[in-house]
């Protein structure tokens, strides 16, 4: 059942196959700043009304990509299309696109109310109507009553929310959000996430979303693209990316993974890998990738939460495959979870995660708690172990 689509994956594909109506397209776009290549031959197709997230390490080109869509940067080469038409040379104010800037860019000479109403006024919506909508937008971001504050009289998170309200109020067809909730506490962020999601689905706005909060990306996105050095590494639904990463980098970037290097000893659909330490690991290939030939050097990736630790007592398990004997080095408390680090000879450190022990009834044996020094057996099922070649 491992490969069966998880519950979360009940979403409409947000990425448009060539031909299918795409709202925003970047075709083979490159952006250079002098010698720096910020975006490198990037191609994205974002379907109308999709919630599309850009993930990637700091400096990989996310903001630059958004700036090219908004029209603040011209691609050095390649083409940006919005609503099917090329927008080369179309100034930002003629694109029905709004941006929540990573650096907020609030107008210092206007108070919060005027900042939020700015977009409306440009479209001739003023007076009572403007006031009504501004109040509405500020309520949405939990800042009702802050109309008369100046930007520099606000806390970081409050400024960010003003920037958010200022963009949302315009109900554009495309909304670019550059870490729009980054400065908010978890509680508020959750509320905002729900607000954004409902807005997006109700009004049918296309969201292009940059975030560093993985749970946020995974729970909210229809599609996620993982970028690196200005290039696309992998694109797909959150579940695909999480369950079927196609490269070490993606497996390690989105969530954590344990990596075990080895050589393929049994090819075919159900692979067997031998580690240098002489251990035998059963694993599978990510969906859609053909298996490597026997003898190929590969890496096996296993999510920490898919690794179960058994007391050395349970020798029964030791026999079966996918079981590594090791010694606990750290046991760290993560609030709702406990993380164990286990040193396994010939493999290295293995990280395992489980719900905090208090959730388990005394009676049960599942995932007992171990202290540093305990000898344990780390085991997982084949479906949890992915064979990666990149």
């Amino acid at each position: 059942m491992g490969a069966s689509p998880p519950v979360g994956d009940l979403r409409t594909g947000g990425s448009a196959a060539p031909g299918v109506e795409a709202d925003v397209e970047l075709l083979d776009v490159t952006k250079r700043f002098g010698s720096v290549v910020a975006v490198d031959r990037l191609t994205l197709r974002i379907a109308r009304g999709a919630f599309y997230s850009l993930l990637g390490p700091s400096g990989c080109g996310k903001t630059t990509t958004l700036r090219m869509i908004a029209g603040f940067e011209d691609p050095t080469s390649g083409e940006v299309r919005i609503g099917g038409r090329s927008v080369d040379g179309v100034p930002p104010y003629r694109r029905n696109v709004n941006t929540v800037f990573q650096h907020y860019a609030l107008f210092p000479h206007m108070d919060v109310g005027r900042n939020v109403g700015y977009g409306l006024r440009q479209r001739g919506i003023t007076g009572a109507e403007e006031r009504r909508r501004v109040t509405e937008a500020l309520e949405l971001v939990r800042l009702r009553g802050y109309e008369h504050r100046r930007a520099w009289e606000l806390s970081g998170g409050q400024q960010q929310r003003v920037a958010l309200a200022r963009a949302l109020i315009n109900r554009p067809t495309v909304l670019l959000l550059d870490e729009p909730l980054g400065a908010l506490d978890l509680k508020l962020r959750r509320e905002m996430q729900l607000e954004l999601k409902s807005l997006q689905t109700q009004v049918g706005i296309t969201f292009v979303y940059v975030t560093h909060d993985q749970e946020e990306a995974i729970t909210m996105s229809d599609r996620i693209v993982v970028m690196h050095d200005g290039r696309v590494l992998q694109e797909g639904s959150p579940a695909e990316l999480y369950n079927e990463p196609r490269s070490r980098y993606v497996a390690g970037f989105l969530g954590q993974s344990n990596f075990i290097a080895g050589r393929v000893v049994e090819g075919g659909p159900s692979l067997a890998i031998a580690t240098p330490g002489g251990l035998r690991v059963l694993a599978r290939r990510p969906v859609g990738l053909e298996a490597p030939a026997a003898g190929a050097e590969v890496t096996v990736a296993i999510r920490p939460e898919r690794i179960r630790l058994l007391g050395a007592a349970g020798e029964g398990a030791a026999a079966e495959a996918n079981a590594l004997v090791g010694r606990v080095t750290h046991a760290t408390y993560l609030g709702d979870q406990v993380e164990h680090r286990v040193q396994v000879d010939g493999v290295g450190e293995i990280v395992a995660r489980a719900m905090a022990p208090e959730t388990m009834d005394a009676g049960e044996s599942a995932t007992p708690r171990f202290a540093p020094g305990d000898q344990v057996i780390a085991t997982w099922q084949r479906a949890a172990a992915l064979v990666l070649t990149e």
């Binding site: 104010y93 107008f107 005027r114 977009g119 007076g127």
Partner: protein, 287 residues
């Protein structure tokens, strides 16, 4: 910061002490003299006899026209300089390094050649043998008269005052945060809208400073209009020269000078108030 605003830093104060003293002397000493004179009376041989009367002020209305002309000239000229100076400053602020340098120098250059030479150059250019002759040669009929026209006067004034307007505006635009302009455009404001709602208010300090630098000296100006305008219009400046250099009526002259200062203070403060209120209204939400 709160601390600074609560009590000026010791150092600032220290730095300032001499400056302030120095400056107050520079500024107030002459003013004081003027006030004292203005209360005195004219001695038979002219000049000043100590006294304590307001008669001289009572006589100011006889120079009402001069005040009116002066104010009109100053106001129009300031507007004109702003109109011409702002785009120029904007252009400078958006140029790159060395090119900008050259341009900056070009803007001040007219200041270099002494006033006299500038004015004579203008005589030659605008005089009957200058541009008009050229125009006539090119078949313009009738031969246009340029000298002693409003045009001539404003050419001269712009030439003499433009850079005072350009530089403060240039400085205020120079550090303008480009990201705010992006935000404005992102929100659908075209170039003009962005200029009106973001660039202009954010460069207001420069515009105001430039305005003061042009308006206030203009209130004392009379030579340019005299030389290029034919001196048939009476300005406070002329009146003052007449009083100090001809009838040698220092007390009345001083009274007029004081009157001028008062007019300036009133109009400028009024202007700044309005500008400020205007800005506040623009910036503050109606909610």
């Amino acid at each position: 910061m709160s601390r600074r605003s609560r009590r000026p830093r010791a150092v600032t104060a220290l730095l300032l002490a001499p400056t302030t003293a120095w400056y107050l002397l520079l500024l107030l000493a002459p003013l004081a003299i003027l006030v004292i004179f203005s209360l005195g009376e004219r001695s038979p041989v002219g000049g000043y006899l100590p006294g304590l009367s307001l008669d001289n002020y009572a006589r100011l209305p006889t120079r009402a026209t001069a005040f009116a002309n002066t104010f009109a000239l100053a106001a129009v000229s300031t507007g004109l300089c702003a109109l011409i100076g702002y785009p120029l400053a904007y252009y400078l602020a958006t140029r790159a390094g060395s090119k900008r340098t050259i341009l900056l120098v070009l803007v001040v250059l007219p200041f270099l050649t002494s006033f006299l030479i500038r004015t004579y150059a203008w005589f030659t250019i605008l005089g009957a043998n200058g541009l008009p002759a050229v125009a006539a040669a090119l078949g313009v009929e009738p031969k246009p008269v340029l000298l002693n026209t409003h045009l001539a006067v404003f050419v001269g004034i712009v030439y003499n005052y433009l850079s005072l307007m350009v530089f403060p505006i240039y400085v205020s635009l120079e550090r303008l945060d480009k990201r705010l302009l992006e935000a404005s455009k992102d929100l659908g404001a075209g170039r003009w809208a962005t200029f009106r709602q973001v660039t202009l208010p954010l460069s207001a300090p420069g515009l105001v400073s430039g305005g003061l630098l042009v308006f206030i000296p203009m209130m004392g100006e009379y030579i340019v209009p005299a030389l290029l305008g034919g001196g048939k219009v009476f300005f406070v400046g002329n009146a003052l020269v007449d009083l100090f250099l001809q009838s040698r009526n220092w007390p009345f002259g001083s009274a007029m000078a004081i009157g001028l200062i008062v007019v300036v203070l009133i109009s400028v403060t009024a202007y700044l108030r309005i500008a400020a209120r205007g800005r506040v209204e623009r910036e503050t939400s109606l909610l």
